[in-house]
């Protein structure tokens, strides 16, 4: 604040600009620190570990990359997963995240900072969150000036929706992808504002980075064409638009096709068709404008008929070809996940594996309050502000918010894409509101003095005490931001578009004021709103989104309980089983098993083969003997189930079981969901159906459970279980973790089936001896 008050009245504007730049840089630095540090709760409260499921896979890939180098990585065929099929990792992952973290690790080691790969992976997401908030500043600055930019950056640094995906340890694609998304948009807007080919090229390169990082890149390649189309339709075509769009499509598509996982999809699937269609349209329109430029108005009228009709014919042909192409492919050329966005009921009807994931469900209103909090109130004001006046850049962010808010309404997971848009909009709204209120206060206080310069300088002094009164430190950032926008930002923002009107507007604004006391109260209310946002975000970061889900804690009267059962069990597997043993579990635990126990799994979280998952689902839903046969045919030696009934851990396998039945039944019709339900209700107590009580999942979960408390009371389902005393015939328990959360069973050897037949038994044992050395390494 001291720096702000120091310039005496009458300092040259250059001096003020310099101060503004330094202050902006300082604020941005603090925003970066904030974005990084708010994501460290998980490390402080738990420890520096990789979280959840997918990050473990990414971690394993990064380890492989850092150990074997990039060429090995591209050609990596992983035989530890999807047994017996295996998986070509190099060709099926989005390599952006892995390459980023691998490069960081390599660079740090090259300058003799010996960090482990795990540490680099844990902190990649927080670092990129700081980058993302800086990118947001740049983007919003292009749209509405640096004041709005700083506000938006501060909001994004702590928006809960983004925090949920980028806490330290959450090493997933989204961590770097959101930065790439915002930065791509920034470069697009920058190109649109400047018409510079340099930025257009950079834009294609960041788009390439985005394609490398996340499947969500299709959002970009559909949103930008839509914006271009919108500009054309509303008569805003300009050469700048052409430069912003055409290089992106050409270079971007070529670069995208270089990524193995995308490959020819970049030109073959209909997610990309919109961009090509608009590419054609923009050329037609450019031709029209060119001809308009070289012909006299009369001649042009003649020519227009000709060009329009030719253009229409070309478009019609292209549309027809596209429709034919789309119609000829089985799903209409759209992948299941994208289809569920357009027809929201699609996934729940036809693809249980998509519908089974809770983050693919449509959200209710509390989700918005949880994930973007008070921004939900501010966004409409931001939308309105973007329309006064409407520029190419502001129309883009309006389109961005509209699209992302619609898609987030379909799939809760896409709230992540909405968050930056909501921050930008709210930043603009807050900036404008502070602008108006502080300008009013300044005007009312300085009415006595007629000089404009005096009035302007008063703003800074007036604002200073208000800043101190605000509770959160980010509010200071926001408020200072407003100030900047009122002075320097306004001048800079729309230089290319409508320079002359800006000055007159500022002059006009002088007179547009609100009453003094009402403005002060309004300011205080806005600051309160901001403070509430800060508190909510800190709470969300600390309490809601920091749990690594691999280590669980619970707070009870007699202190903190730590449940470290998962790591205990994976460690048991890696120490007590053979390196080549196959472990079957539901797909959720596949990545963790390969990464932490280094054992081969049947299915994992990369749900690429529905039949294989259905096989495991069927085994889990079958009676013991049938399940044993299925598992035995897959060479499975151990079966791992997660059970929460003892400690009340709700996301265990019994709660996921109906999805196993559904997915299994989708491929193997003898598994019927109705057999597991009593009057349409899923229950495991004495009212449960015999099919349910005899299926493998029930038995493996509740085996010996009655020995814990004598009653076999399940704390998740809040009931006593239906069948308490039973023996296992084809499986034997080999390990149960401390809190019974993970239970591991071994398949009993086949000899049980031919008991009593001495001859065969002899033969069997001898052949068993023969097969033993062979079994040791079946896959090499």
């Amino acid at each position: 604040m001291a720096t702000q008050e120091s310039p005496p009245p009458g300092t040259s504007s250059a001096m003020r600009n310099a101060f503004g730049t330094v202050l902006s840089a300082l604020i941005l630095l603090l925003i970066g620190v904030l974005a990084f540090s708010i994501r460290l709760f998980s490390v402080i409260k738990y420890e520096s570990v990789i979280h959840e499921f997918d990050p473990y896979f990414n971690y394993r890939v990064t380890q492989f990359l850092s150990k074997n180098g990039i060429y090995e990585f591209w050609n990596w065929f992983d035989d530890r997963t999807w047994y017996p099929l295996g998986r070509v990792i190099g060709g099926t992952v989005y390599p952006g995240l892995t390459l980023t973290a691998g490069t960081i690790w390599w660079a740090l080691n090259a300058i003799n900072i010996p960090l482990s790969v795990e540490t680099v992976c844990v902190f990649t997401a927080p670092v990129f969150s700081a980058f993302a908030s800086w990118a947001t500043y740049l983007l919003t600055k292009e749209v509405k000036g640096s004041g709005a930019g700083l506000a938006a950056a501060a909001l994004l640094a702590m928006v809960p929706s983004y925090i949920s995906r980028s806490v330290a340890g959450s090493y997933d694609n989204e961590a770097v992808a959101i930065f790439a998304l915002i930065f791509t948009f920034y470069l697009y807007i920058k190109t649109l504002n400047t018409g510079s080919l340099f930025y257009a090229t950079l834009n294609a390169l960041t788009y390439f980075y985005m394609v490398c990082s996340w499947g969500g890149y299709t959002f970009i390649i559909n949103l930008i064409p839509m914006h271009v189309l919108l500009c054309i339709v509303t008569g805003r075509y300009s050469p700048r638009l052409y430069i912003a769009y055409a290089p992106l499509v050409v270079l971007g598509t070529l670069l995208a096709a270089l990524v193995p996982v995308v490959g020819f999809n970049a030109v073959l699937t209909s997610e990309h068709f919109a961009s090509f269609l608009v590419f054609i349209i923009i050329h037609v329109v450019a031709l029209v404008y060119y001809i308009k430029g070289i012909l006299s108005p009369k001649m042009f009228k003649v020519a227009v008929t000709l060009v329009v009709s030719i253009g229409l014919v070309v478009c019609l042909i292209v549309v027809a070809v596209l429709v034919a192409l789309v119609a000829s492919s089985p799903t209409g050329g759209w992948s299941g996940r994208s289809l569920s966005l357009l027809d929201p009921t699609y996934a729940s009807k036809y693809i249980p594996i998509i519908a089974s994931v809770s983050e693919h469900q449509p959200p209710t209103w509390p989700s918005y309050f949880m994930d973007i909090n008070v921004l939900a109130f501010l966004v409409p004001a931001g939308i309105i502000a973007c329309f006064s006046p409407l520029s190419d850049a502001s129309s883009f962010v309006v389109l961005y918010i509209v699209m992302s808010v619609y898609f987030s309404g379909v799939m809760v997971r896409l709230m992540l894409v909405l968050a930056p848009a909501a921050c930008i909009m709210s930043g603009i709204a807050l900036s404008q509101a502070f602008d108006v209120f502080t300008a009013s206060i300044k005007y009312q206080l300085g009415r006595s003095s007629n000089s404009k310069d005096d009035a302007e300088d008063n703003t800074s002094t007036n604002n200073a005490p208000k800043d101190d009164s605000s509770s959160g430190k980010t509010d200071k950032g926001e408020e200072v931001a407003k100030e900047r926008s009122s002075k320097k930002g306004k001048k800079k923002e729309r230089e290319p578009a409508d320079k002359p009107s800006v000055k007159s507007k500022i002059a006009k604004k002088r007179a547009l004021v609100l009453p003094l006391e009402a403005s002060i109260v309004a300011l205080l209310l806005l600051i309160m709103l901001g403070a509430f946002y800060v508190i909510h975000c800190v709470w969300a970061a600390a309490e809601a989104y920091s749990a690594p889900s691999i280590v669980l804690t619970s707070q009870s009267r007699d202190g903190l309980h730590v449940f470290d059962d998962f790591r205990e069990s994976y460690a048991w597997l890696s120490h007590n089983t053979d390196v080549d043993d196959k472990v079957a579990s539901w797909w959720d635990y596949g990545y963790q098993t390969t990464a932490m126990a280094n054992r081969t799994v049947i299915v994992d979280n990369n749900t690429w083969n529905n039949t294989h998952i259905a096989t495991v689902g069927t085994a889990m839903s079958s009676p013991e003997k049938a399940a044993w046969e299925i598992f035995n045919s897959l060479d499975v030696k151990y079966v791992l189930v997660v059970f929460g009934g003892l400690i009340g851990y709700p996301s265990d396998d019994i709660n996921k079981f109906l999805w196993m039945v559904r997915i299994g039944g989708g491929v193997f019709p003898h598994i019927k969901e109705a057999d597991y339900l009593r009057d349409g209700q899923y229950r495991i107590d004495s009212e449960a159906t015999p099919t349910m009580l005899n299926c493998l999942m029930y038995k493996l979960s509740y085996y010996r459970f009655v020995e814990t408390d004598g009653k076999a009371y399940d704390r998740v389902r809040r009931t006593e279980i239906g069948k308490k005393n039973f023996k296992l015939t084809h499986f034997e328990e080999v390990f149960t973790s401390h809190h019974w959360m993970v239970r591991i069973y071994k398949l009993k050897p086949q000899k049980n089936r031919i008991r009593g037949r001495a001859k065969k038994l002899k033969l069997k044992t001898s052949s068993g001896l023969d097969s033993k050395p062979a079994k040791k390494n079946p896959w090499i």
Binding site: W365, V402, A433, L514, L525, F532
Partner: protein
């Protein structure tokens, strides 16, 4: 049971032989009557007013099967009428797919009985709708017709399920289902010609920049509207087809508008919260965009106070509702000495 079946089977067989010998003309008359009834109906579904004539008073085995849809126009239920329409598609498809094979089409007739004919409902022992029943040639006792009833799990309201049911029970093939296109050919023609005629005018207008697309207000309202619908979670309600409100199970006069569980929301609840979300933003925009242009200071003052009070209450209300619904209480992180 087995003895009984074979006995009754023999009995039916002898009756059938007898009836074929004695009264050959009667069933064929009935068949021709059914054919004429069918041809008078558009989709080929016969409104069966006289059950006894075609079913009970005809000696088994009858030369035809009847598949009966139990309908209730009075019930005025949309899903039921949709299902009835689908049933009509199956009937029409069956007839058109087997056009030149009267031996097939005269074996099976699609019928419908309305609930106004309560006697027939009683005869079939119909308790719930929708229900479809296949009366095969040998069926005698209409009340014990488990074999002919479509299973509840299969009654999912699609033409395909009905066709599958028919094919599995009668060994007749229905063939592909022909649904009428969304727009008839003449409608498509009219629309296409309208577009063709208006295209030059539209293009001219468009090039001049005079359409509603060039009006930024259109986009502004549109954007806010989309925001409103999305942020209130309308998609959730559409996908799960959730009602606007519920009746209190304990007191049927009380309506429940708010549901205390974060995963589920009712329609009215969603819209009202969406309105609060959007309203606050719009009020803020009103103050910063419109109110500043007002010249009268007192007017400004009153409006601002109103706006601030309303916004404050709206935000407070949403925070309260959220805490109530999710059960979360946000920690305020005051210094420990303050508590």
């Amino acid at each position: 049971m087995a003895v009984h079946t074979t006995l009754s089977y023999r009995f039916f067989l002898s009756i059938a032989l007898l009836s074929i010998l004695a009264a050959v003309s009667e069933p064929t008359d009935l068949t021709t009557e059914l054919v004429s009834l069918r041809s008078s109906s558009e989709s080929g579904v016969i409104r069966l007013n006289d059950v006894s004539k075609f079913i009970t008073s005809v000696a088994t085995p009858r030369p035809y099967s009847l598949i009966i849809f139990f309908n209730s126009i009075d019930l005025n239920s949309n899903p039921l009428q949709n299902f009835r329409r689908e049933f009509g598609f199956v009937s029409a498809s069956f007839i058109s797919n087997n056009k030149n094979r009267s031996d097939v089409t005269n074996k099976l007739f699609f019928c419908e009985i309305d609930s106004s004919d309560s006697e027939s409902f009683h005869r079939f022992g119909i308790q719930s709708l929708p229900q479809i029943c296949l009366v095969d040639p040998s069926m005698e006792n209409l009340r014990h017709h488990e074999r002919g009833m479509m299973e509840e799990a299969d009654v999912d309201g699609t033409a395909e399920s009905v066709a599958e049911f028919v094919e599995s029970r009668t060994k007749l093939t229905v063939g592909p289902i022909h649904r009428p296109p969304l727009l008839s050919k003449t409608q498509i023609g009219v629309i296409a010609s309208l577009i063709a005629i208006s295209a030059p005018f539209l293009i001219k207008k468009f090039l001049k920049g005079e359409t509603f697309l060039h009006d930024s207000r259109f986009w502004q309202y549109g954007a806010v509207l989309v925001y409103f619908f999305s942020v209130s979670g309308t998609m959730h309600n559409i996908i799960n087809s959730i009602p606007m409100y519920l009746r209190d199970p304990e007191d049927s006069n009380r309506l429940v508008f708010f549901y205390e569980e974060p995963e589920i929301q009712l329609g009215a609840e969603a819209l009202s919260v969406g309105l609060l979300y959007t309203g606050v933003g719009l009020l803020l925009a009103y103050v910063t965009d419109a109110l500043v242009r007002v010249r009268n200071v007192n007017e400004q003052r009153v409006a601002m106070v109103l706006v601030m009070v309303v916004s404050f209450l709206a935000v407070k209300r949403v925070v309260y509702l959220n805490n109530w619904k999710t059960g979360y209480q946000i920690q305020m992180y005051w210094p420990s000495s303050w508590q």
